[in-house]
């Protein structure tokens, strides 16, 4: 094993051992339960950064990246799956997000969870999550990725249900897992299809042999599989991504997942795990690139989710739910980006979004902390003076997500929209722009209702409001920095920034296959126009937000908002009720499914088992019936014998002898 390989292994081993240790002894550490998990994570982060540096800056592993096998995992005949890892540019980029935010969230949690008796479990779970997420990012074959995929689902389940005695948390955790399983159902079948088609599950071609990304296009080319099969494979795989990244119609679990502690929301349900779908589709770009139909569907699902979620985010009252729907919406953007072929842009947005959404969630956590676990924005207001660091960092995050230049969100989002337009997806672009307006609006609605205007905080709590401890504010500040700068640093100039250079080898083939003729970005013409429209849309949205809900001292226009609400009452109601998706699901799965299950159970007991018991009962009743001939009367018996004699004699003489 080379040093780098050892580092990669350590990257997994550290959080795993952190999990194991914390699980075993964490309870005895009481308030210092973080003392294993957090240092471990910092070390992990350091190693990750080293690897990122090696990969991206030193280009130490070449275009292909570092590939190596730990051991043979599933040697089931010719279905032979290695436990193998890869570190290439894409991995490295995602590693940055995952480890950085992960590390910050760990630190943040020290303060946030300081008073929770279950903190040891919390840190154990967090480490388990980090292990799973890193495994997901590092995995070099479908099955291992799938395993990690499920493991992050598990961590998510555990963390959502962290406050297990809350029924809502338990239900949300279950829902998250099961909805994810729906996606994984497709994913697993997709993997099976891949293996059946090409006989391997390794992503890329290494010394060990050719990989899927080489073989599948070849198979298509050689006619070994029909194009629709390719589409089928891609869509099955995409199903998994939809589940994990909460895309319509599997988006229902994410808002409920906010039942978990806020750091979890920040880490898992905003910055990392939900990005797994995006990461995976980007990873599988050689497959998707072969099938335009699938690509279009990805784009459609993405952009539809974007606008759907944004529309819901506009009316939610729970601060974390607004952010959750915002996350959905942003993820929709990313899928739209993937679908239109702007893989790098999607990953770019993944990165920036990871930071600013992480920031926003942590900030909201800080707010919730400040107002004593109150999440309803109608019971907040005017907090900006009392928790200034939280306020300022969140303001930065809001501007970033709204897409106001030159903050990070602007670059990534506009790149997606511009690519959509240029790659011929005008509809996607149009909707995207509308969503951009809505983004500004709902973000500044959030800001306004939380921080500005009059305070609606419970008077008992009001005097106790104070800024969060340093372990919480420092991560906020640290996250605010990339939220501001990341776009400029790696995203400028658009479509040929640092990030694009890094990722170019990964998406090279896909771009070629899709025949996207990349004209270099020029600050004029169509490029500039699109850039301007994007910025303008963001600004419009933000302006509306400020207009309605205030900023610093600006007054809120409560009356206007109410009038507006009344005007669009049906729309408002629909949005407020999240377009009744939960109700629909409840109807279909809980009620109808329950009915079916009950009916089948009835069938099982009455029909299947009933047949078995019926045969037994029939035997018994036949026996009881036949018993009657045993009357106890000799004459009856004798008659029976005589009758038997007659039958035998008659048959002998008249039948057999005939």
């Amino acid at each position: 094993m080379t040093t780098d390989q050892i580092f990669v292994t350590l990257l997994l081993a550290l959080p795993l051992s952190g999990f194991a240790l914390t699980a075993l002894v964490g309870r005895r550490l009481h308030t210092r339960a973080w003392m294993i998990a957090v240092p471990v994570l910092i070390a992990t982060w350091a190693i990750a950064m080293y690897l990122v540096y090696q990969t991206l800056f030193l280009h130490a592993f070449g275009d292909e990246g570092l590939h190596f096998t730990l051991y043979k995992w599933v040697p089931a005949g010719n279905f032979s799956i290695d436990f193998n890892f890869a570190v290439d540019a894409l991995t490295a980029v995602v590693l940055i997000v995952v480890t950085s935010i992960g590390m910050l969230v760990h630190v943040y949690s020290i303060g946030y969870m300081a008073h929770d008796p279950g903190r040891w479990r919390f840190f154990a779970y967090l480490n388990l999550f980090m292990f799973s997420m890193l495994l997901l990012v590092l995995a070099d074959n479908f099955m291992l990725l799938f395993a990690a995929w499920e493991l992050v689902g598990l961590s998510s389940y555990l963390l959502i249900g962290f406050w297990y005695n809350r029924k809502s948390a338990a239900l949300a955790a279950k829902k998250a897992f099961i909805v994810n399983r729906v996606g994984d159902f497709g994913f697993a079948l997709g993997i099976a299809a891949v293996w059946t088609t090409v006989g391997t599950l390794n992503f890329t071609t290494t010394e060990a042999g050719p990989g899927v990304f080489q073989l599948l296009p070849q198979a298509l080319e050689s006619g070994a599989i029909a194009p629709w099969m390719m589409t089928g494979i891609a869509l099955l795989l995409f199903m998994g991504a939809m589940g994990k990244s909460a895309q319509f119609p599997l988006h229902v679990w994410l808002p409920d997942a906010m039942e978990g502690p806020t750091p979890v929301s920040a880490l898992i349900h905003a910055a990392t795990m939900v990005n797994a779908g995006v990461y995976f589709v980007a990873r599988a770009n050689p497959i998707f690139a072969q099938t335009p139909d699938a690509m279009s569907l990805v784009a459609a699902v993405g952009i539809f989710t974007a606008i759907l979620a944004a529309s819901i985010a506009l009316t939610q009252r729970d601060i974390k739910r607004v952010l959750a729907y915002s996350t959905l919406s942003q993820l929709g953007y990313m899928f739209a980006g993937l679908g239109v072929g702007a893989f790098a842009a999607a990953i770019f947005h993944l990165m920036t979004h990871g930071f600013f959404k992480g920031l926003l969630f942590l900030g909201s956590g800080s707010v919730i902390h400040a107002v004593h676990e109150e999440q309803d924005m109608n019971k907040m207001g005017g907090l900006w003076r009392k928790i200034p660091i939280t306020h300022w960092t969140m303001l930065i995050g809001s501007i970033a997500i709204a897409g106001i230049p030159p903050l990070a969100g602007f670059f990534s989002k506009d790149e997606i929209l511009a690519s959509a337009y240029k790659n011929g997806f005008q509809t996607v672009w149009t909707i995207g722009v509308i969503v951009a307006v809505m983004t500004g609006l709902y973000m500044f609605r959030l800001m306004g209702k939380t921080f500005y205007g009059e305070s609606h905080v419970d008077p008992h709590i009001e005097p106790k409001i104070h800024e969060s401890p340093r372990s919480m504010t420092v991560p906020l500040i640290l996250l605010a920095i990339p939220s501001v700068l990341l776009g400029l640093v790696i995203g400028w100039p658009p479509e040929s920034g640092l990030l694009h250079q890094w990722l170019a080898p990964v998406f090279e083939h896909a771009t070629e296959t899709l025949e996207l003729h990349e004209a270099p970005f020029v600050f004029a013409g169509i490029d500039a126009t699109l850039l301007f429209i994007g910025a303008a849309a963001a600004a419009l949205g933000v302006s509306f937000g400020i207009w309605f809900f205030g900023l610093f001292g600006f007054t809120q226009r409560q009356v206007t908002v109410e009038r507006l609400t009344d005007t669009f009452r049906p729309l408002y109601t629909a949005s407020f009720h999240k377009w009744w998706f939960d109700e629909l699901n409840d109807l279909i799965f809980v009620r109808f499914g329950g009915f079916v299950a009950r009916a089948l159970w009835w069938f099982d007991v009455r029909v299947v088992d009933g047949t078995v018991n019926g045969i037994a009962a029939l035997t018994q009743s036949t026996g009881r019936g036949i018993r009657q001939i045993q009357t106890g009367h000799v004459q009856n018996y004798a008659l029976g014998i005589a009758a038997g004699l007659l039958v035998i004699a008659i048959t002998y003489i008249f039948v057999v002898a005939r």
Partner: protein, 509 residues
Amino acid sequence: MIDFVSGLPILSLITFTPLAGAVLIAFLPRERLNWIRWAALGTALIAWAFSLLLLTSFDPGAAGFQFGEVADWVPAFGIQYKLGVDGISLALVVLTTTLTWISILASFGPIKERVKEYMISFLILEVGMTGVFLALDMFLFYIFWELVLIPMYLIIGIWGGANRIYATIKFVLYTLVGSLLMLVAILAMAYTYQAHTGTWVGAFDYLTLHDFGFDPTLQFFAFAAFFLAFAIKVPMFPFHTWLPDAHVEAPTAGSVILAGVLLKLGGYGLLRFAVPLFPDAAHDWAPLVIVLSLIGIVYGAIVALVQPDLKKLVAYSSVSHMGFVTLGIFVFTEQGLHGALIQMIAHGILTGGLFLLVGVIYERTHDRTIAKMGGLAGRLPVYSAILGFFVLGSLGLPGLAGFIGEFVTIIGAFDFYPWVAAIAALAMMLGAAYLLFMYQRVVFGDLSDFLKGIGHHLTDLNRTEIVTLAPLVVLATGFGVFPGLLLQLWQTPVTEFVARLVPAALAFP
């Protein structure tokens, strides 16, 4: 290779050590409960140690059966006492010996009445189970097969729950119908052989019959009989209804063995006897079997969703999980078989664990109604965590053995016919649904009023219980992370199995 093992009749030792223990216990005084208990545990541990010794000496690369033991038994019919082990049977034997001592240990507390008879029954049960896996003579196999029946009958019937008599008689009759028909098939097979070759020598010998090649008509009917016997044992839809009853009524350890080993007898029978002996018939029957397996998988899971009783839920989950076993066997692909086998082992471990855990809660509360539970996590954290482990393992979480079983089976099934895999994969969702639904209701939330009423009796796992569960946790994880340990063990026989059957591989639909 440890040399001295090759000189020992190691297979007979494994098989009959428990019998010796049973005889010993028969002579122990009835009141000395602890003597009896420890003697039983000791015997089971010795058998276990022998099986581990066998494991270390086994050569996975060698073809055919190893450590063969042959002696004439009824020469008039060519019946032999013939034992042998290959990778498949070895794994199942070790599973059996392991689960047996765990079950015996787990019975220390709950079984307080007629301990002597209980332990004797259990040890004889082990003889039968081990024998089934090791027998290479059809007749011997049948003897062991029936031998399993009586101890289980007693275990359910004597130490079971309120409705135990109904359950145990149902279990026996159901199994007996199948096995007696199988006996007819065995005899028909032997006779056909004898009629062809003119000699009884080898008429019951598995290896001889294996290569004999029966005519299609015989294959058809004999397969039907074998299949019925094994399908009942597995149990496959629609022959599964004895299982929920038996499980609900059986004592904890009985459930563990029932789910952990007895169901495997069916799966083992299918892949060791029904398919290789009658390959053509198996081929003809495969579509039906696959359809039944799929129905079992989905149906068992759906019905499990609405079970009010913990044990019933686990029982129906067994129907679903064992559907993967039969599916894997009958898609006739290498992966399918691998998957089926590892699913058997995984199901044995995981469901065994689940039943142990249900037993723990039953012992404390004398109830298994899910609706009455709730909030155990706060009161019984260790219990909840381990229950969580087994629930997750059972729903096929990667990293644990169940995942490998299901996934590899799905791969194999997809290779055979994609829609089959698609339907089987529904279990991924449904399994998560019913197991998590159960887990949520039992473990999460506030402590239910019913459990509050239990008071201080509601204690967390004690040391014995942890000792019984720990090996299962280790095994489930070990085989999830290193499934190669198992897969390579039976690679050789699996290859042989598949080589005999060329599946009518359907292309992508």
